[in-house]
Subunit: 230 residues, 2 copies
DNA sequence: GCAAAAGTGTTAACTTTACACCCATGT
DNA sequence: ACATGGGTGTAAAGTTAACACTTTTGC
């Protein structure tokens, strides 16, 4: 090992791409950096991986320190390792990816590395720190792909949601219009939505039914080879 | 940067998962290790990334040094960074993924780190060095997914191939039987295969037509939103 | 009573599936 | 002449796509 390490030293970091959905818009969770380089820039929540820390664990810890979020399941997106990507040296970053419900979580950075953490509208962003705009672009393409083949829209909506909210989510993320009747027919045909029995309140039009996603049913269907697709 | 690096030092490596297809079997390109640890074990071609080397470039260089292959386009698969994955210390590895034509390439390791490089039958492998069996498992799942949604089977076959060869490739990799007439109808309907005009030679049955994959046509169809699926 | 979004069904076009026999070639 | 794999078509079932009006609610 000695000779391996004598060669050259490097660092790896994790960056977290966390998508949300609110008021009909796709959101992304960013921090405002409190340190150089890229002081005051918006950036993905990310930091150095510890010596005795698994990558997945590091992603969870870093996200918690910088945003206050806890126990968020993330999956790996891609590793970015271009020689010049970090101005301070050779830092390779493993990007992680998750979808969460905006309303459910409060945001409060625990270390001054992040001045604040906030939801920003994905379709209206300035240039981010480092190569984070590139990372985000890749994450968005993955989100679009996943949305079509896995029932992940529900991760982004409140527990109870209307079919119109769900349809708007698909339209915003896939960037295309969808026929209302066909959408409802298809999504209901899977039997993955349960009527909550409740309706919208205080809306100045006919109140829509609120549905819940039936995750248990999805898991058992998946075991017998069911493939979601929209 | 100084304080970053004072924290702790780490190493990253790349490992290459190269699939091939020959005599009706899925193949994987492995090396026999010429060094400790895991001396004499079969392993994925992989090694340490250089200080001033992009990850993608490192994957290409390492593959060349260990197998003699050159100019192989690889895409990233996943990064494996569990704390205990390497017996000699904290080594995170970025796995790469490619499909190539077995017959087209000769194999000869250029450095003694690999005693030899050879094609092995994927479905009949011993335990590999390090966590390479896990990496390979993940690569295989990716191969299955990609095969259904991208016309990648052709990367694994000779330039000219019969429809039966192509169908067998799908059957072996997807691990299921496919109806001959329906398969032919569908694959031909895309218009991505060109008849070469030639037929098989020296076969003791009716000689099959040899087809070529029309990559240019695929690229132009893709631009206008075509999605391959089998 | 009006504005706003919810909710609903049918038809035609297309895609998928299931299925069996004759053909060409080498031995 | 036989063994081997090559090559072909149809009909029924299922899926997708296109399309417009009535209902409920708050103001």
């Amino acid at each position: 090992m000695q000779d391996l390490y004598s060669d050259f030293h490097s660092i790896f970091s994790v960056d977290c791409v966390i998508f949300g959905f609110d008021k009909g818009e796709l959101k992304i969770l960013l921090i405002e950096r409190g340190e150089e380089p890229y002081m005051d820039y918006l950036a993905l929540p990310g930091n150095i991986v510890g010596e005795d820390e698994d990558l997945d664990a590091a992603a969870g810890r870093v996200l918690n320190e910088l945003t206050g979020l806890n126990n968020i399941y993330m999956e790996q997106l891609h590793t970015f390792g271009e020689v010049g990507r970090h101005p301070q040296g050779r830092i390779i970053t493993v990007a992680y990816f998750s979808l969460i419900k905006v309303k459910r979580h409060e945001l409060y950075p625990k270390i001054p590395f992040a001045k604040k953490a906030e939801w920003r509208t994905f379709h209206d962003l300035p240039k981010l720190a480092f190569d984070h705009s590139i990372i985000l672009e890749k994450a968005y393409r993955k989100l679009q792909r996943k949305l079509r083949y896995e029932p992940i829209g529900f991760e982004l909506l409140p527990d109870k949601f209307t079919l119109t909210q769900l349809q708007q989510l698909y339209e915003v993320i896939l960037e295309k219009e969808i026929d209302k009747r066909n959408f409802r027919k298809k999504i209901l045909s899977y039997g993955l939505l349960t009527e909550s029995g409740e309706k919208q309140k205080n809306v100045s039009h006919r109140a829509a039914r609120l549905y819940r996603f039936n995750k248990r049913r999805y898991n058992s269907l998946r075991k017998i080879g069911f493939n979601f697709e929209i």
